[in-house]
């Protein structure tokens, strides 16, 4: 008997209603995938292939038309703190300070804790993403990079079994992006939380993932291929580009994405 996967997506499809028409627009069909405990899996695909929709369905903030999502073998019903999300647009509460934003998730995750435990835990995670000194600022006063650090701290601090990252670095400038990616690697190494990420950045996917799932372009997108990333950990942005397998993997994925796009548009 195989060990039960941490996260399983089973034959999930999503259709959108087209206004004024009985027909439906199929975003993706029969998507099935498994993520093992401690694994870092990334879905990569063109805009419009529904990868963010898939992530939202796993998070429980969107609904699938068929199929189901299983967490440790149990079907999930709606959103939950066991699947913390890191959003592309950060989704921090703008009326709260950085500290209060992280604290909100700590309080939700550990309702029985004392004030001292809550405070200590919150500060520990703020420190982990180097936000000490900015804890009393509101998100509007921070750069995109700092805001996403807060988003990561909020997600990690809840110690969820699964984390869902929705293009977490897309709105961060290229130089800061690398630094925060390194921070994510470090935090992931410490916690080995199961991560499901969605991105359209190939380099980012290779750097972070154990396995990359390639989706064909929409409409009616589907999983086209899975690529294992055999490069040993710990990885860093510098070490990875010196690895001989890196360019082969990168070219393979990019060629695949481009060919599929041409087939669709042809």
């Amino acid at each position: 008997m195989y060990p039960m996967p941490m996260l399983q997506v089973d034959h999930v499809s999503r259709n959108y209603n087209i206004a004024g028409s009985p027909e439906k627009f199929c975003v993706f069909e029969n998507v099935s995938l498994k993520v093992d405990e401690g694994e870092f899996v990334t879905v990569i695909g063109h805009s419009g292939c529904g990868k963010s929709t898939l992530l939202n369905i796993i998070a429980g903030i969107d609904k699938s038309d068929t199929g189901c999502v299983l967490l440790r073998g149990k079907a999930v019903q709606g959103p939950g703190i066991d699947r913390m999300v890191v959003f592309q647009n950060f989704a921090l509460m703008p009326w709260l300070t950085v500290y209060q934003n992280v604290r909100l998730s700590v309080e939700a995750a550990f309702p029985d804790w004392t004030e001292k435990q809550l405070d200590g835990h919150t500060r520990r995670y703020l420190e982990m993403v180097s936000l000490e000194g900015a804890e009393n600022k509101r998100p509007a006063a921070l750069s995109g990079g700092m805001r996403q650090r807060c988003g990561l701290a909020r997600a990690f601090a809840a110690k969820p079994p699964v984390m869902l990252l929705d293009e977490p670095f897309a709105q961060i400038d290229a130089l800061t992006r690398g630094v925060i990616q390194d921070e994510l690697i470090r935090m992931w190494n410490e916690t080995r939380v199961t991560i499901f990420m969605v991105t359209h950045d190939v380099d980012e996917a290779i750097l972070l993932s154990d396995r990359i799932i390639l989706m064909s372009p929409g409409p009616a997108a589907a999983i086209a291929r899975t690529v294992d990333i055999p490069i040993e950990r710990p990885r860093s942005r510098r070490s990875i580009i010196e690895d001989q397998r890196y360019y082969a993997l990168r070219n393979d994925i990019i060629r695949f994405l481009e060919n599929r796009q041409e087939e669709k548009t042809a």
Binding site: G78, P79, I81, V85, F87, A91, P94, W95
Partner: protein, 278 residues
């Protein structure tokens, strides 16, 4: 009509926008000077009109004002009280009606804002009700409750419920979906979600509604007091008219304006505290 203008037309509460943070910062020297010049011009106009009619001029009114303000808290029987006491009467009436109306408005506003169907079903009635001057309700209210004090309270209530109700519903309906998603992911209970996400997120819009409500309540309380004869600034202005003391009437007008400005400034401060930028 452009799409934008149409949207604004269809929006039920176009008047209530949150104050942008930083608005109303220190006036520059130029604006201060211009403001002073306009004030002097208006005073001169007044003086000119006063010189050619029975209307008292600025200096007469100033003299009356000094007299009234020398002892604002005197109490010489039921119909002869100081301007401070009269203002306090109006304020208590205002605050009680306004507070009761605001609690109701925010409560029902949240319910309406959470349900698009309910909001659309109720919206036409809100539009009709808020077009009615609260003074128009007065005969009916007086007939029903048969008490001038309660009637004045209800007039203030009617004047201040609609803007806050409409703004709360609008603010709650337009909360960014992300914030509600985060609340759901954190599995917040209903009350926690209400107080930690929904109300703070809609806070600036709600306060903008409260500000309009307060303005409308203050405007309506003066004629209500005048007509009902309830002690207060409205009663004062009408009483001085009956005494044919125009200087006192003009002084009362200025007092009403000054109190209104102070109330508005308080709400501007509150709204600046609750405002946030995304």
């Amino acid at each position: 009509m452009s799409a934008r203008a149409r949207r604004r037309f269809l929006t039920p509460l176009s008047a209530g926008r949150p104050d942008p943070p930083g608005k109303g910062e220190a006036m520059t020297l130029k604006t201060a000077f211009l403001s002073l010049a306009i004030g002097c011009f208006l005073l001169l106009c007044w003086k000119g009109i006063a010189a050619n009619s029975e209307i008292p001029g600025p200096l007469d009114v100033l003299a009356t004002a000094v007299e009234f303000l020398r002892d604002p808290l005197y109490d010489a029987g039921p119909n002869d009280k100081g301007i401070g006491i009269l203002t306090a009467y109006s304020m208590v009436r205002l605050l009680s009606g306004f507070t009761a109306a605001s609690v109701c408005a925010i409560f029902f506003g949240v319910i309406l804002g959470r349900s698009a169907i309910l909001f659309n079903a109720v919206n036409p009635y809100i539009q009709i009700l808020r077009a009615i001057s609260p003074i128009a309700w007065m005969p009916l209210l007086l007939y029903t409750v048969k008490d001038s004090g309660i009637t004045a309270f209800l007039v203030v209530f009617m004047a201040s419920i609609w803007p806050t109700l409409a703004n709360t519903a609008f603010g709650v309906a337009n909360i960014r979906k992300d914030y509600l998603n985060v609340a759901d992911i954190l599995q917040m209970g209903y009350w926690k979600k209400l107080f930690q996400v929904i109300l703070p997120a809609a806070g600036p819009t709600i306060v903008a509604g409260l500000k309009i409500s307060m303005g409308s309540a203050w405007v309506s309380i003066i004629p209500a007091e005048a007509m009902l004869g309830s002690l207060g600034l409205g009663y004062f202005v009408w009483n001085e008219w009956n005494n044919l003391s125009l200087t006192s009437v003009i002084f009362a007008i200025f007092t009403i304006g000054a109190v209104g400005v102070v109330i508005d400034a308080m709400f501007t401060r509150l709204s600046r505290r609750l405002s946030y930028t995304d």
